[in-house]
Structure formats: C-alpha cells, structure tokens
C-alpha cells in the first residue's frame, strides 16, 4: 500500500517533486564540486610544487653562473642546512621576440630557455601531462605569455640569436610551478635540447647563463645566512614566497570557493524550504492516514522513503555533473597551474553523500510535523483554528497602495519567515556578485598603483633612444662605452647599463635626456625609475640577502607611507608590514646594509605598503649608494608631470609621447596598474561566469518558489477570480511579491557589499603586502547586477505566474 501511496504522491505532486529533484541535483553539483575545488585550492600550490620539484622545494636560489657551476656547487655542498639540492641551468634570453605575423612582441621580464632533457623541474602541458620531450623546431611557452601577448598553439615564434632568426612552432602552453605566476615576470621557453644548446653555446652564454637551485632543507633561516658567499646570487626565495606569488590565481580560486560555499548555502536553504513545504502541503493526506489509524512512524517512513528515493537519484546525477562543472569553475585558474588533490573522486563522492545525508536529516526533521497533525487536518484543510499570535500584516483600509501591491506587501509582512529563504538566497548571490564587481572595479583603476611602485602619470617602455642625444653619455664615459655599441642601439634597457661600473650614473644621465626631450616638447616632468636591487643586510645579528627599492633619476618626493615618515636621509629606510613581521623590525630600529663592503647603519622611519615581491622589500633613500651591479629589476621609465595636468591632458600627452619615442608601450597609471596586477582579465572572466551561475540559480529558485506558492495558493487565487479579479491582477500580485523580495534582497546585499568588500579585500590583499586600499564603489558596478537580478526575477516570476491562468473561479468548487 505504501508503494501505491508513494506512486500516487509522485504523480500528484509532480511539479513539486520535479523541482525538489532538480534542487537535489543542483545542491549535489555545488557541494561536490565546491568541496573538491576547496581542497584543490587550499592544497593548490603545495600540490603543484610537489609535483614539479618533489622534496627539493623548501628553498630556491637564482644565481648567475656563466659557463660553470662548480663554485656554486662547492658552496652549496658545504651548507649543513641543505639536505639535498638540484639545479636547472637556463639561458636568460634578452633579445627580440616576434610573433606569427612577424610583429615584435614587447615583452619585459625574463625569458628562460631550457630543454626537458636537462631540466630538474617538471613542467606540464595544458592537459597536466609532464613535458618530457620537445620536437626539434618546436617550443612550449609559459601560459601567461599566451594570455599577455595573444600567441596561440600552432603559431610560429621567432627569436634572435647572434643576429640570426630562429623560428619555432608553438606546441602549447606550459604550466610552471616556479615562474608561472601572474605576479612573476619570468617566461619559460621550453625547447628541444639541440635547439636550446645553440643558445648555451653562443658567445653570450657566459653572461646570460643562470642557474635556479632547488633545495631540500629543514632550516631555511640558516641557508639564508649561508648563501651570502655565493657569487652572482640574485635571489633567494623560500617556498612560502613562491606560493604567495600565486596569490592572484589563488584569489580567483578562492572566489570560486566562496561562490561554491554560497551556492551550497543557497541549496540547503532551498532544500529545507522545499522539503518542509511539500510535507506541509500533504497535511490532508497525513490527516486521512491518521484518521484511518496509521501510526506516526509509518507515515514518517512513507515520506522518508520518498525523500530517500529522490535524494539518492538526485545525488547520483549531481555527482556525475559535479566533475565537469568543477573543472569548468576552476578552468580560469588551472590554465596556469596543475590544481588537484591526492583524494581524487572521494571528495566529490563525500560531497554527494553529505547532500544525501542532509536531505534525509531535513526530511526527518520536517516529518516531525507529522506528529502535530491530527485527523482534523484532513477535515479542516490543515487549519485547526488555533492561533496564538496575531498576524503582523498591514490593513487595506489604512493603505493607499493598489490591491495587488497591498496583497504582495501584506503576504511578506504576514509570513516573513516563509519569504526569508528567498531573501537569503537572492541576498547571498547578489552580495557575492557585488563584492566581485567592487574587486573588478578597483582592480580596473589606478588604486593599486601606489601599492606596486612609486606611482607616476605615464609609464614609458621600450622607447626609441635614437631621438635622444646619446652622444652626451658617450662623451662623459668614453672609456667604458668604447666598445659597447651604444650608438647603434635602438633601445637601452637598464640591463644594458648594468654591465658598466658607472652604469647607474649613465642610466641617470639617460633619464635626464628623456626629461629634457619631454621639456623640449612642452611637457615638464620628472623622469625616474623605481628600481629593485639585492643587497646583503644585517638585522638582529643575522645576515640576509634582501630586495631594496630605490627611486633612480629625478627625485620626486614622498612615497605612500602608512606609518611614520618616508626616508629623508640616505641612512633612513622604510619597511613593509611583511618585513616588519618577518625580520621583527619596527620604526626606530636599525639594520645594516652592505653597500659593497661598507656597512651603512640605517634607521627605520616608516612603514609602506607594497605588493611587489609579495611585500618582502625595503625602500631606501634616493641618495643611498646603490650600484647597478646589484640591479634586480625595475618598473620602466616613469614620468610625473610637474604642471599638474588634467586626466584628459595626460591622455593627450601619452599619445604625444608614443609618437616622440616611437613606441606603443606608453601607459597611463590605470593601464600600468592593470598590467602589473595581471589579475583583471581572470577576475572579469570569473565575474561573467558567476553572473551566469547566479542568474541560473535565481531562475531556478524563482521557478521553484513561485510554483510552490501557486500550488499553495490555488484556493486563494480561485477565490480572487471568483470575486472578479482578472488573470492579469493575479499575475501582478505574484510578480510584485517577488519583485519586492528581490528589491529587499538586493538593497540588503548592496548595503552589506561595501563593508564586506573592505573586509574581504583588505584581508586578501594584505597577504600580498597591500594596505590602506581605497576601494572603489562605482554606482554603475553596484547597480548593474542588482538590476539584472531584479529583471530576471520579475521576468521568470511573470512567466511562471502565467500558470495561474489555468486556475479558474470554478476551482473554488473543487478545492480540497
């Protein structure tokens, strides 16, 4: 008999059952894929790093080794803290790169040429397979090179070696655990061993061959102090630092995880509602069953059987869908990373089992109402006549709203708990979208400019130096520049000057020439470059190799300082919050910097935020005695106009500078910031994906809820029609009610979005070294998604409410 009742129930409440079934599937998809993604992201970098470098992933060194590495090995072999190590040698390519159409690619950073045969690190293709060989004449390139410069698999790419072009076919993107991050400036060019050897055997090899050392150690602090003796050392990086360079990808990944969590919450809220609702809907059947003597337990068993069947079928289908869905969510992140976890399918299955268990639990709790129902419910349509609290609705006699508006508001105010599910579901979705939109708006602005470098109005890159009077530099340093070929160069990167003893003076003179040229063209400006150097420092009795930042060129003034003051003298420094934490320094403390054998005592005068090198750097005064022998990297030629031009004028000048220096690489502050942050595209892509998912969730929630309400309100709709309400009036009532709920949800979400953005954003970006972020809240950005969600809600409610046309006034006669 139970089976018969069950069968009848499945047919009778077909719509509700189908909707509930869909939500079980949806919940399983979200929970299973969400849990898997959560694990993959939390373990993400460790998993990837372990795959790539195995146990030798505790500390990393970058060393310029020329043709021999014996000196380096000798030092490493004698450091007790190093349990084992391995190294890759690569050719640091610095010449031109041309794309498929022969167009020059304006890359900056470092290109590392190496081959699989001589690599310790494992690099992976887009299908996460290790690249063990590359065909001659072919090449794999780091994923971000594809993103930044638009090259495609199958394209031809041309490099230049000793003035001869070398062409390679791109076999695809590679995933690089060490240099693949958006925040790092390195691109790995992975090619056939014979092809790579051409570079290693070239005359430039001695200058450009570098080694990257992978170290296994239990005591990286000791390594840090022991490596100062290594000649040519340009960097030492702890594993945690390399993990932090992935923060951009991880931010997107965490956003996906948060979305998954939001979707899980929404799913459970909806499931709770629908299970409770459908059981409440069956009061008549339950009353009849009780009237004929069926016990509570048996009635509960009947409903539990139904929900078990639905949950089991839904969980299995949801589990199957969760795999491609999870992969789709993580796609934007996993393009450059091998994301995964060692648990495999178990997590998805655990997610599905969790949903199944929650449904059974919710069903069990909801069927508890069976105890309260009596046979009278069958007679009195579920209403016992008892009421202990007066309804909190409004009075039409005192209202000035139209009937349909009044009915909508009155419903919500009378039974707020009933509508809370919708407000929570819509609110969570909207809040998430708004926070994401605020992130995107801020990232698409110059807000982070001060957090990256000493910001300027215009950033000039790869300028044509033939327009400058370079002869003046030659005249001043004739001996050093005698055989340099400087007069024939079209571009003069900092790395060119770095090879000379007076390179810094030459470079400063070069920046003066740029400044003069701009002044000649009517643009008075200070021209400088915010540059990074590596120097040994001594702090609290320990020595470290550290990155120091210094403005080189025309001194500009104060930097963004969050505490204390900017360095005013050459023995003053500012530190980041990261340095304060890792070196245990504070304002007033002193460190010693080894300026080529002379230890300068420097006092900390201020704290500044900086996202470069994930905050592990110190800013030194403009006059500090640095040399380009310690040069690590830089921004580009930075221009700050001194006549305070308008934004429009800056744009005009930007175009003019492009013409003067014959380069397209002239960026304003926003463009430079976006370019450096490297996360905007991923964020925008994630935002679009989430809009789509949210819209789908809103559609499903709306259909399900509205359909449930119609089922519950059939009697009332029929009575309205019997008393002369038109179909259109009933639809208006239904649509307005959802409209009000959607508006309430988005208003709450909008109000919460500002503090939540600040809270979440500050927390995320402070990990990277940022502080005092002035989050942007654009009206367009804030209004766009709420309006879309409200419009979608209204449209879907209207379409669903069209079903009320099928309810006739005559149905008053056949209402149960």
């Amino acid at each position: 008999m139970f089976l018969k009742i069950l069968n009848k129930d499945l047919k009778r409440s077909k719509t509700m059952n189908v909707i509930l079934f869909l939500f079980i599937i949806l919940a399983t998809v979200f929970v299973a894929s969400g849990l898997n993604n959560l694990t993959s992201v939390l373990n993400g970098m460790d998993y990837f790093m372990d795959l790539a470098v195995g146990e030798k992933g505790d500390y990393f060194l970058g060393v310029n080794v020329g043709k021999g590495d014996s000196a380096l090995r000798e030092v490493l072999d004698n450091v007790d803290a190093i349990k084992s190590y391995d190294m890759d040698k690569y050719f640091g390519y610095s010449d031109e790169v041309r794309d498929n159409d022969g167009k020059k690619i304006d890359w900056n950073g470092a290109i590392m040429i190496q081959s699989p045969e001589s690599s310790y690190i494992k690099l992976f293709d887009s299908d996460n397979n290790e690249i063990t060989s590359v065909e001659k004449g072919h090449i794999y390139i780091t994923q971000k090179f594809f993103d930044k410069f638009g090259v495609k698999t199958g394209d031809k790419i041309t490099l230049k070696l000793e003035n001869k072009n070398r062409e390679y076919i791109i076999d695809g993107p590679l995933k690089d655990a060490v240099f693949g991050a958006q925040l790092t400036g390195g691109y790995r060019f992975f090619m056939n061993e014979d092809d790579a050897n051409e570079y290693f055997e070239s005359k430039d090899a001695e200058f450009y061959t570098e080694a990257f050392v992978y170290i296994e150690s239990d005591d990286i602090e000791k390594i840090n102090t022991a490596i100062n003796d290594i000649e040519g050392l340009f960097g030492g990086y702890a594993r945690s630092l390399l993990v932090l360079t992935r923060i951009v990808e991880l931010i997107v990944a965490f956003i996906i995880v948060i979305l998954s969590v939001c979707l899980m919450i929404v799913s459970f809220v909806i499931l709770k509602f629908s299970i409770g609702f459908s059981i409440q809907d069956d009061f008549r059947e339950i009353g009849v069953m009780k009237a004929i003597g069926i016990r509570n337990l048996k009635i509960r068993t009947l409903y539990l059987t139904k929900y078990t069947a639905l949950a089991a079928a839904g969980a299995v289908i949801g589990l199957i869908i969760s795999y491609p869905f999870g992969k789709m969510l993580l796609k934007s992140v996993s393009e450059g990373m091998v994301l995964g976890n060692s648990y495999g399918n178990i997590i998805n299955i655990a997610g599905a089992v969790l949903v199944f268990a929650v449904i059974i639990l919710l069903a069990f709790l909801s069927t508890g109402k069976v105890k309260k129902m009596t046979p009278v419910d069958a007679v009195r349509s579920g209403e016992t006549g008892e009421r202990f609290n007066k309804k909190k609705g409004i009075r039409i006699s005192r209202s000035h709203a139209g009937n349909t508006t009044f009915l909508s508001w009155n419903d919500i105010l009378s039974s707020p708990r009933r509508y809370l599910n919708i407000i929570i579901s819509f609110g969570i979705c909207t809040l998430f979208l708004l926070v994401l939109a605020n992130f995107t708006t801020t990232l698409d602005s110059p807000v982070f400019a001060d957090q990256i470098s000493h910001s300027s109005d215009v950033y000039l890159d790869q300028e044509d130096v033939t327009v400058l009077d370079i002869q003046r530099i030659i005249d001043r340093f004739p001996d050093e520049l005698k055989d340099s070929g400087i007069a024939d160069k079209k571009e003069l990167p900092v790395s060119f000057f770095a090879q000379f003893e007076h390179g810094k003076e030459m470079y400063e003179m070069y920046l003066d020439l740029v400044e003069e040229k701009l002044a000649d063209e009517g643009m008075t400006a200070k021209v400088y470059n915010d540059m990074a150097f590596t120097y040994a420092i001594r702090s609290n009795g320990e020595e470290f190799v550290y990155t120091l930042y210094q403005v080189v060129g025309d001194r500009y003034g104060d930097y963004l300082i969050t505490e204390g003051s900017a360095p005013q003298n050459k023995n003053e420094i500012a530190i980041t919050p990261t340095v304060r934490e890792t070196l245990g320094l504070d304002i007033g403390d002193t460190i010693e910097i080894d300026f080529d054998g002379v230890y300068e005592k420097c006092i900390v005068t201020g704290v500044f935020p900086c996202m470069n090198n994930t905050g592990a750097l110190i800013r030194i005064h403009d006059d500090a005695p640095t040399t380009l022998a310690h040069y690590l990297g830089c921004m580009c030629t930075q221009i700050s106009f001194t006549d305070d031009p308008s934004q429009k004028e800056i744009e005009n000048r930007k175009e003019k500078i492009k013409d003067i220096f014959n380069t397209e690489n002239v960026r304003n502050r926003t463009e430079e910031t976006v370019n450096n942050m490297g996360t905007l595209d991923a964020m925008k892509a994630a935002e679009l994906l989430f809009v789509a998912i949210t819209v789908i969730v809103v559609i499903l929630v709306t259909i399900m809820m509205e359909r449930s309400f119609i089922a519950k309100e059939t009697k009332q709709i029929a009575i309205l029609k019997a008393t002369g309400f038109r179909d259109g009036d009933v639809i208006k009532w239904q649509v307005k009610r959802f409209g009000i709920l959607a508006v309430i949800s988005v208003v709450i979400a909008m109000a919460l979005s500002i503090p939540v953005t600040r809270l979440a954003g500050d927390a995320i970006f402070s990990v990277m070294g940022a502080a005092k972020i002035n989050w942007l809240f654009s009206i367009t950005g804030m209004a766009k998604y709420p309006l879309i969600l409200i419009a979608v809600t209204l449209l879907i409610t209207w379409i669903t409410a069209l079903y009320t046309k099928k309810i006739n006034a005559r149905d008053t006669a056949c209402i149960e």
Binding site: E383, K391, I396, S397, S415, Q716, G724, R726, R810
Partner: protein, 252 residues
C-alpha cells in the same frame, strides 16, 4: 419585471478518461429581477455545475446565458471577470477567504478593485463596515479569518459578495457547512437582502432553506424536471410543507 438572467439550451459536458459525461442537457429558464430562486436536486444532478455555468465561472459547452441581455458565454475572460466583480456576488459552501487578510480587508478587497461606483477608499471602507454592522459582525472586523465562528465567517462572505451592490447573488449551499442556528441567521440575511432588491439564486439541499425562496427549480440528471412557485402569503412552515410535498411527487 425585467429578466436578469435568461438561460437557453445550456449544455455542459465533461470528458473524463475519454468518457463523455453530459452534466447539463439543454437547460433553459429565466430569472426575473427581485426573485429568490433555489435550485434543488439529488446529488450529482448538476446543480452546482448549473450555478457555475450561468454565473460565468465555468464555460458552458453550448447554449446561451444572457445576463442583463448580454450573452456571457460569448464574453472574454476579462469581460467575465468584470461582470463578476461589478454585477454578481458569490457565496460558497466553504467560507473561502484570503488567509493573510482580516475579515474587513477580505470584504473590502473586491470593493477596492471595482471602479463601477467610483467610490473613494473611505467610502468603500464605510460601505464594508456598514454591511458588517448590518449583518452583526462588526466586532470581528479586525479579526483574522480563523478567529471567528463559521456563521460569522459565512456572514462575512455575504458582506464581501454585497460590497459592490451586485444585481445577482449566487450562493452554492450557503448553509451547507453551518449548524441550524447559524444556518437560520444566514438565511434571514439572504432573505432580507432579497427583499431589499437583490436577485438571489442559490443551490441547496435543504427544503427549509429553499422554502424561503420565491421559486424552486428541481434538476435531475441534467434536466430541469419541475418548477415550483412558493406562495409568499403563507407562513414559513406552510411553505416548507407544500414544497416538501412537491418534492416528494418528483421522487425527492
């Protein structure tokens, strides 16, 4: 007296599981203004179907229903809704009301929906309160629908049906769910309303209730088998006895 409702050759057929069920078979009758007509008949004879068909709540299969000279079977849904709102009132056996509204608000709802009398909100509220006062339930105005007795609720339904001053009041077993005392009270009210000029057409099983009507139509197997005109000059008991005799002759 003018004819309010004229039904000609009305047929209603339901198709269930490919089986045709002719519930009404060429039913014809007229209702004049000021009449109080009862429709009686055995169970499943088509009484309620007739009421819903002639009131436009249900669509007839064939035939015409002229309400005030206009054929409501040819009307569109919205026109029918307007007729129901402005010209007709309905009382059902079950006291259906909007759950989240108070008794007074339930009564006012169709009043505020109608544009017929061009009344202000205040006037509609006044009218609703007057009706409640008249039917003796004004003290329940702010009560929820499940805070009042069945009799009070049915009287509230009568108030709602009268809020737009309808020309024709339909009632489907208006006392069916009430006890004798409440039933008598409701019938008193309906009779009073009829005396004040509102035409009433009701379906009932109860000869005591039907005896208060001016005319009784007896329907059986989808056909009107007989028509009985009550002698209004006689007492209630005499009219009831006479009606019962007539019904017995028809096999009631």
């Amino acid at each position: 007296m003018a004819t309010v409702l004229e039904v000609k050759d009305l047929c209603k057929t339901y198709v269930t599981d490919k089986r045709q069920n002719n519930v009404l078979k060429n039913v014809s009758f007229k209702v004049d203004e000021g009449e109080m007509v009862a429709i009686m008949g055995p169970s499943a004879s088509g009484k309620s179907t007739l009421l819903y068909s002639v009131s436009g709540m249900d669509k007839a299969t064939s035939g015409t229903v002229l309400f005030d000279g206009k054929d409501i079977t040819a009307m569109k849904k919205n026109e029918l809704a307007d007729v129901r709102l402005d010209e007709m009132g309905f009382i059902f056996q079950q006291m259906y009301m909007m759950k989240n509204l108070t008794i007074l608000d339930n009564i006012l709802l169709p009043g505020l929906q109608s544009k017929k009398h061009k009344r202000s909100r205040k006037e509609v509220v006044q009218c609703g309160e007057d009706l409640m006062r008249k039917l003796g339930i004004i003290e329940a105005a702010d009560n929820d629908i499940n805070e009042v007795s069945g009799g009070q609720l049915q009287r509230a339904c009568i108030c709602r049906s009268l809020i737009n001053k309808p020309r024709l009041l339909f009632a489907d077993e208006p006392t069916g769910a009430l006890n004798r005392a409440n039933s008598n009270e409701v019938m008193e009210e309906l009779t009073k309303i009829n005396r004040e000029g509102t035409t009433v057409m009701m379906v009932t099983h109860d000869s005591k209730v039907a005896a208060k009507c001016t005319r009784v139509l007896y329907i059986s197997d989808g056909n009107i088998e007989g028509e009985y005109r009550s002698d209004v000059t006689k007492s209630d008991k005499e009219r009831e006895r006479a009606l019962n005799n007539w019904l017995m002759d028809l096999g009631w």
